[in-house]
Amino acid sequence: MPFSKNKARLNTLKKGKKARIIEVGGDRKKRRRLLALGFVPGESVTMEQKFPVLLVRIGYSYIAIDEDTGKNILVSP
C-alpha cells in the first residue's frame, strides 16, 4: 500500500487512517521506550481513537500514548 512522501506528526493523523512511521524523536529515554513498544521506522500504524488519549494499532497490539508523546513521532500518511 503506497504511502505519500509527506511528513506529519502522529498526533495529527485522523481517526481511522493509516500511516508509516518515519522517525521517532524525543529525548533518549522516551525514544527507547517508544522503540521498544513497537514504534519503529518502517512500521505502519493505524489511528484507532484520538480521545481521551491517542490509541494506535501496530500489528495486533494497541498502544495508548498522549498527545505530547505523539508529537514526537513523524509519519507519512
Binding site: L37, P52, Y60, I65, D66
Partner: protein, 650 residues
C-alpha cells in the same frame, strides 16, 4: 544432593505468563516481594514427575533495557539467579513484535525455550503457524499453547524437562542475528576490552552499552573501571535505532514461511467489549458501572456490610468473644486481664478489628483489584483517566496507586514508588493522604450513608472536588513537569481463577503480616494514652476548632481515633450517629472531615520513610488545611442552602 534447577519465565506483560506459571507448578507457589523491592515475584515448584525444578515468574519486560522498577527486577533476576533455563512467553498474534526480545535473550546466552501462547486468539484473527519450522530457524525449542484452556501444557512440561536434562553442552545452534557491519565492529571493540563476567554475554552487554543503558554503564565501571571507547563510539551513530531496526527485520525474515495470515477479523462480542471499555464516550459509563458493582456493592455492601456483620456480629459477637472473655476471667493479674479484654484491649482491637472487620473488607477489595488487573481492564482505566490525572501533574499511569489506595493507603504509598519522577511520587502520595479513603473506612462510611443516597453523593462529590483542587494547586506550585503517558492496552481476557485466587491470597497475607503488627503497637499506645488521660486532654484542645465546622465536641476523640485507625474513626462516627448526637447534615460534614483528615498512622509512617521528614510534614500540613477548610465550606453550604433535602429527593 543435587542442586535444584531453576527456570525463569519472562515475556511482555499480559501474555499469559502467570497462567503458564500456575499450570507448570504444583499448588504451593509463594508470592513475595523480591528482596529489597516492593515488586511481587512468584516462586513455585514443578511436580516431581516432571523434574522437581524451581520456577520463577517475573514482571513483564519489553526489552533487556528496563523502563521501570519492576522491569529492573526481572533484569536483576536474569543476571543474578543464574537460570538453568529461560522460558519466554509470547502472544501468538503479536509474535513479530515480540521476537526482538527473543533475539536479545539468545544473544545474552541464556538457554531458551519459546512459548507461543494464545494460539486460539491468533487463529480467530486468521493466523496459522508452522511451529516446528520456527523452532528449526531459531535454533531453540518452540511450544504452542493456549494457556487458559491448558492446551499444549503437557508438551511444554516435556520440553522443559528435556532441555534441563541435556545440560548446557548442546550442539544446537542459535540463530545468529546479523547487524550492520558498522555495528558489529563497534560491538567487537567493546567485547575485546571486557574482562569480567556479568551474568549475560559480553556481546549483549556491549549492545546495551551502545544504546546508552545506564545500568550497563555502571556495571562496567564497577568491574572494569571504565573503558576508553565511550566518547568516540557513542557519539557517532544512532545505535538504538540501528539495533531495533535490525532486530525487527530479522523477526520478519524468520517469520516468513512459518506464519501465514489470511486476514479475518470477526466482529465478535469480545471485540465490541474491547472497544466499549476504551471508548471516549461509552468508556466512562462502563467505568461507573464497574465502580458501582465492584466498590459499592461488592466491597461496601457485601464486604463491609454482610461479611463483617456475619463475622463480627455473629461469629465473634455471639460465640468467640463471650468464650474468650470467660476464659480470661481465670487470669489472676487484673492488669493483664485489662490489657486483654477491655475496650482498648488486645482481644477487641487486634483480634476483633483485625479479623472481623478489616480482614473481610480488605479481602473483598483485593479480590476486586486482582480481577481488574487480570482481566486487562486496568490499562483501559489508565487511558480514560489520563486527562484527569494530567490536571494534577500526574498521568494515567498513576491510576494503580490510586486504586490501591481505595484498598489500603499504606500499600498505595508503596506502589507509588513505580511512578517515574520524584515530583509525581510526591503528588501521588499527597493526594492519597489528602483524600483517598481506604477500604476499611470506605466500607463503613458507605454502609452508614447508604440510607441517604443524597448524603453519599454529596460526600463523594466533595471529596473528589477537594482532591482535584489540591492536585491542581500542587501542580501549579511545584516546579517541573509531568512525564508522558504510554501504555500497551491488552485484549480483555477472562482471568484464570486459580491465578486470581493465588494472587489475592498472597496480597491478603502480606497485608496481615505488615499491617496488623502496627495495629497492635497502636492499640498499646492508645491503651496507655487512655489510662493517663492524654486523650481527654487533646480532645479539649481540639474543641474550638471542631466547633468552627459545626460539629459537637464529642467528635474530638473520634478524630484522634481516626488518626490511629481509620476504621475506628468511622466506627466512632457510627456510634455518635446511633446515640443521636449528630444530625444528618453534621454526619455528612463529619464524614468528609474524617475522610480528608490525616492519613492513618501506618500510612504516615510509610510516607515519612518514602518521602523523608520534610516532605512528610508538608503533607501533614496540607492535609490538615484541606480537611478543615473543606469541612468548613461544606458546613457553610449546608447551613445556607438546604442541599441535602434537594438531593434527598433524588
Amino acid at each position: 544432593m543435587k542442586k535444584k534447577k531453576k527456570v525463569v519465565l519472562v515475556g511482555r506483560p499480559n501474555v499469559g505468563k502467570s497462567v503458564i506459571f500456575n499450570r507448570i507448578t504444583d499448588s504451593y507457589a509463594v508470592v513475595s516481594n523480591y528482596p529489597g523491592t516492593t515488586v511481587e515475584i512468584s516462586r513455585g515448584q514443578s511436580p516431581e514427575e516432571y523434574g522437581g525444578y524451581e520456577v520463577l515468574d517475573t514482571p513483564g519486560i519489553y526489552s533487556l533495557m528496563p523502563f521501570s522498577a519492576e522491569e529492573e527486577v526481572t533484569l536483576k533476576i536474569l543476571r543474578e539467579e543464574e537460570p538453568d533455563l529461560v522460558v519466554q512467553v509470547v502472544e501468538a498474534k503479536n509474535i513479530e513484535r515480540m521476537l526482538p526480545l527473543t533475539f536479545q535473550l539468545m544473544e545474552a546466552g541464556f538457554p531458551l525455550v519459546l512459548v507461543v501462547n494464545m494460539l486460539d486468539e491468533a487463529g480467530e484473527e486468521g493466523f496459522k503457524f508452522n511451529l516446528p519450522r520456527l523452532a528449526h530457524k531459531l535454533g531453540i525449542p518452540v511450544a504452542g499453547t493456549v494457556s487458559i484452556r491448558g492446551k499444549g501444557i503437557d508438551n511444554l512440561k516435556k520440553v522443559i524437562r528435556n532441555e534441563l536434562n541435556t545440560g548446557k553442552k548442546t550442539d544446537r545452534r542459535y540463530y545468529e542475528l546479523q547487524y550492520p557491519p558498522v555495528l558489529e565492529d563497534s560491538v567487537q571493540e567493546i567485547v575485546l576490552k571486557l574482562k569480567g563476567s556479568y551474568g549475560i554475554s559480553k556481546k549483549a552487554l556491549a549492545l546495551l552499552l551502545l544504546q546508552g543503558d545506564t545500568r550497563a554503564d555502571k556495571l562496567i565501571k564497577e568491574r572494569e573501571g571504565g573503558l576508553k571507547y565511550q566518547k568516540e563510539l557513542l557519539g557517532s551513530l544512532d545505535y538504538p535505532l540501528l539495533i531495533t531496526m535490525a532486530r525487527q527485520k530479522a523477526a520478519r525474515e524468520i517469520l516468513k514461511g512459518t506464519v501465514y495470515h489470511q486476514g479475518k477479523r470477526a466482529g465478535s462480542f469480545k471485540a465490541k467489549l474491547n472497544t466499549i471499555t476504551m471508548h471516549p464516550w461509552w468508556g466512562f459509563p462502563f467505568l461507573a458501572v464497574v465502580l458501582y458493582y465492584g466498590l459499592y456493592k461488592f466491597v461496601g455492601v457485601f464486604g463491609a456490610g454482610t461479611m463483617v456483620g456475619f463475622i463480627d456480629g455473629y461469629l465473634f459477637g455471639e460465640h468467640i468473644f463471650p468464650f474468650l472473655n470467660k476464659s480470661a476471667e481465670v487470669i489472676p493479674y487484673p492488669w493483664l486481664r485489662e490489657l486483654l479484654i477491655s475496650d482498648f484491649g488486645i482481644f477487641n482491637l487486634v483480634l476483633r478489628y483485625g479479623l472481623a472487620v478489616i480482614l473481610p473488607i480488605v479481602s473483598s477489595f483485593f479480590l476486586f483489584f486482582s480481577l481488574l488487573e487480570d482481566s486487562g481492564y486496568l490499562p483501559r482505566l489508565a487511558m480514560l483517566l489520563d486527562k484527569l490525572f494530567k490536571k494534577f501533574g500526574l498521568n494515567g499511569r498513576s491510576v494503580i496507586p490510586f486504586i490501591l489506595g481505595l484498598g489500603c493507603g499504606t500499600m498505595a504509598v508503596l506502589a507509588a514508588r513505580t511512578l517515574e519522577t520524584k515530583r509525581e511520587r510526591f503528588i501521588a502520595v499527597l493526594l492519597l493522604a489528602v483524600g483517598i479513603p481506604c477500604s476499611a473506612q470506605l466500607g463503613l462510611i458507605m454502609a452508614m450513608l447508604s440510607r441517604e443516597p443524597g448524603a453519599l453523593l454529596l460526600w463523594g462529590a466533595s471529596l473528589l472536588i477537594i482532591i482535584i483542587i489540591t492536585g491542581c494547586i500542587t501542580d501549579k506550585v511545584l516546579p517541573g513537569k509531568s512525564s508522558g503517558f504510554y501504555m500497551e492496552i491488552p485484549s480483555l481476557r477472562f482471568p484464570n481463577i486459580q491465578a486470581l485466587l493465588c494472587k489475592t491470597s498472597a496480597r491478603i497475607i502480606w497485608y496481615m503480616k505488615e499491617i496488623i503488627p502496627l495495629f497492635l503497637i497502636v492499640s498499646l499506645i492508645m491503651w496507655a494514652g487512655s489510662c493517663c488521660g492524654l486523650i481527654p486532654l487533646i480532645s479539649s484542645m481540639a474543641e474550638p476548632v471542631i466547633n468552627l465546622i459545626g460539629l459537637p465536641k464529642e467528635m474530638a476523640p473520634v478524630f484522634i481515633l481516626g488518626f490511629f485507625r481509620r476504621d475506628y474513626g468511622a466506627a466512632g462516627l457510627y456510634d455518635l450517629l446511633q446515640s443521636g448526637l449528630l444530625s444528618q447534615k453534621q454526619l455528612v460534614v463529619a464524614s468528609l472531615a474524617l475522610s480528608l483528615f490525616l492519613p492513618c498512622i501506618a500510612q504516615f509512617a510509610v510516607i515519612l520513610k518514602e518521602q523523608g521528614a520534610i516532605k512528610g510534614i508538608a503533607v501533614l500540613i496540607i492535609v490538615f488545611s484541606a480537611a478543615f477548610s473543606g469541612a468548613y465550606i461544606l458546613n457553610l453550604l449546608l447551613q445556607r442552602f438546604d442541599i441535602l433535602s434537594v438531593l434527598g429527593g433524588i
